[in-house]
Symmetry: D2
Subunit: 288 residues, 4 copies
């Protein structure tokens, strides 16, 4: 098998997906795609190539059952330009490779995150780490922007002043704010990227990193469209219920009305329908 | 804060939990427990100590929302004696530390896994990697045992014969079967141990590793009882539903009958009840 | 074996080792020490306990031959208070566990890194990421300090102003500088801690992280004194030579004068002396 | 920049490099090469592309100073067929991705490791985990081979007999010996591959894994020839000396005779020569 070149990906390779006021994310290299997930899974099963339809079924099976290692066989490498406070959340995902622009070695550029008017929100009253939906008066928004811009301008001016006096770069930069943009190359396998995206395109993630997550989701869809579809169906648009919650579901579900035929008519694959019926039966029997 | 010594754990420290015919698992050291999970989470929230009840609520919140890093602050170190084929499944969990007995350096002992009569099963007809429930006739069981025992005896005899002729240990051992017992020290953090246990006490795991998983579950419960309870309620006894499955649930659920009061009466915590109502509302609105 | 409690460590447990103007590092928990390194190594060799002297020899052997896994059996958990720019270098060490104070959730405190007079240096002319030894005139030092303090004061004032107007915490903090202090719990195994320390107490590391590295080195010595001694002898105070460099050494070394006896007289252990003689012989023969 | 296709690599892609009597390793995909190491390093330094000669110098600088992250930007994916006892050593390298043929799911093939006559050795008298160089008499070699072949044949026969009686595959395989061949896909980044190779092509590694290491070294050279050369010069053919050993070197070295010019005449790069002179000066001054 020659190396996979996926036309939809080649078309966007190196293309900047703009994020926030001055950031971007772009795919600069990749290895594998749906095909290599299937290839890796089949070594386990001792099987050769199959039809496209069987490939899709296999990928969905792997995702449904959390057989994650075949997804690790796909790699994506991104070039990202991000504010430091976003970089600090991002880097917590440890199973990835990073090379970042160094403020010890090089001069940081005069580029800062400035929120749009719409991104300025009050503190949420119910979620201690979120933003409220209540509209912020225009005057207050203007005030916030003015404070941010003025301080960024002044911090960068003082940074330049210290560099001008030949103060060490690694010291001169200590008062630059976390709104400053940095850049890095970031490489990750598809399994760990899905994990990153699940957390970072979630409504609870901070808006500024979500923007990057959504851009990367668009790119990821092109690299492995079947895997993405499965990830959406089973993870992103799925839901987990606890033991106590399942008790409520048990009481309310009229399981007699659910048959394999009715499920298949609604789009369930054959094996998927069987697994749902097993899940329901287990639920009805009290989880034993 | 002095180091945590949990009396229930001290009582079982070093104790062998027998597994299979000649194996065991024993806890030989640990660091932290429920208390250190709470301590680590509170550094994020900038908060100090609280009541036991609030600790339990916090641990359950962390588990419910997959805030996994505080669980990584607890470590358990086990000494395990396991057949090689079990070791080969086990070692696939990479986020752990291992020191294994070396057959290059030392002489392997004459100890092999021999299944009990009850553990001998036919191949499952429906699950390509499972065992059937159908009973195996006694004569066939006896035959299987006889084959296993005879070959183990012969392989070990030839191993000894080669050692006796001073053939290099690393070579003499190449025909020892994967039923041979090996030993290792294995250290893992609680988050990754939960992940291991979720996969290895699952009915789809091979029986022989499940036995070890269950012994380790008993030990883990003692090290972090609140975390274990949350793990059971939200993960082990919970269930994940896909996009398509949620559509079925949506049609059948009579959500008007579910109120915060009725949930609390059934044992839901206050915040847990609110979160379930949000989940249900989201479900009813079609997942938007 | 009961859990190890090392008196020298108990004496400093929880104690703040002050770093920079307002930071600290303190050990809050640990698991194992020299004894558990030896214990883990001996499972590989199928051997039981030995004398202290043999333990020391074994630990040195493991370090000398990069047998790193037994060192992974020791864990240290630290509570650290560090400027954000230090945290950003620190977090690049991925094989560790972290829980950090969250500026999304909580209000950041008014504490910033301010260098001492002695820490203010010019840019190095020869090392693009270092500081020069040339003295900075007092007037310029004063100017730098004044700029840093004034901007920190202003940035915090504006942060408070935005919080006062109920702007979301996660947004209000975006202009806080990387000199702001943050806190975290950080847990790591001894092998990876040695790797961290090797890089971070090196003269090429930035002064501000080196201060933390040195404090942690003091602590680590107490947890595993024999391992520390071996780490110093073979790594910190050792040196690596390249193929080309070895050619120079080969020409100059009068190897006839080096004997096992002369080496032992200088403090080499028996096996260590033999290994050095082998190294020298290999060198003389041109590396074959 | 389009994706890198390296002609020398394309020429060997998918090609089986035979190892032992029935094994192989083949490269089935890769991402990046020397070029992407340089690209990743330059994002740190904020620099663009350079000449080939500068690229080589940069790669050597990175290797010399253990700046390992740019090497992590290259990925290699192998398909390997290996005896189980080799797989067990191999899998200890945790920073890699693996999908292995499953004996629970599929029927293991009748293929076993059989050593050549030359690979049969006595136990080393000096190295507890090695082989002696002393020749094994032909009659004993023949005896060893006969034992191995007979037991392999019998074990596989009994495996087939149990499968024929429909005993579960996961159970029937427990007496297959560790000389049985298995297969896997194994993906790793270049930094971690270098680490693997350093340990596994070392004379202390077991012969049977060294054969694979050497085949992979051939492949790796083609993917990143400059990085390989640096790895050889600074790691494989370099040497580390301890504190005590350096004292010996200090006494014997006539450092006056070593000048930058003389070093450059012998092939040292300019910066490399300066660094060696610094190393020597530090040595002479007693390591301070």
């Amino acid at each position: 098998m020659a190396r996979t070149n996926i036309p939809e990906v080649e078309a966007i390779l190196d293309k900047e997906f703009k994020c926030l006021n001055a950031g971007f994310v772009r795919l600069i290299d990749y290895m594998g795609g749906d095909e290599s997930i299937v290839q890796a899974a089949r070594v386990s099963y001792g099987k050769g190539t199959k039809t496209v339809n069987q490939d899709r079924g296999l990928i969905r099976y792997l995702m449904r059952h959390s057989h994650t290692t075949p997804f690790e066989m796909v790699e994506l490498k991104f070039h990202c330009k991000i504010p430091i406070f976003v970089a600090r959340q991002w880097i917590r995902h440890r199973t990835a490779n990073v090379n970042e622009y160094s403020g010890r070695y090089s001069i940081m550029k005069d580029e800062f995150y400035v929120p749009t008017d719409e991104a300025i929100h009050f503190q949420s009253g119910t979620n201690r780490q979120g933003r409220s939906d209540e509209e912020v008066p225009q005057a207050l928004r203007a005030k916030v922007l003015q404070l941010l811009l003025a301080d960024q301008h002044q911090a960068y001016g003082h940074y330049e002043e210290m560099l001008g006096a030949d103060i060490a770069r690694e010291l001169a930069r200590v008062n630059l704010p976390v709104s400053l943009y940095t850049e890095w190359y970031w490489k990750i396998d598809l399994h760990n990227l899905f994990h990153f995206l699940r957390l970072r395109i979630d409504p609870h993630a901070q808006y500024e990193i979500r923007v990057y997550g959504e851009a990367m989701a668009e790119i990821t869809k092109k690299v492995a469209p079947m895997a993405w579809e499965a990830f959406e169906d089973y993870v992103l648009k799925g839901e987990r219920f606890s033991r106590l919650e399942l008790e409520i579901l048990r009481e309310q579900l009229d399981t007699n009305s659910i048959t394999k035929e009715s499920l298949e008519a609604r789009g369930f694959g054959g094996r998927e329908a069987e697994e749902f019926l097993e899940k329901i039966a287990k639920l009805k029997s009290g989880g034993e």
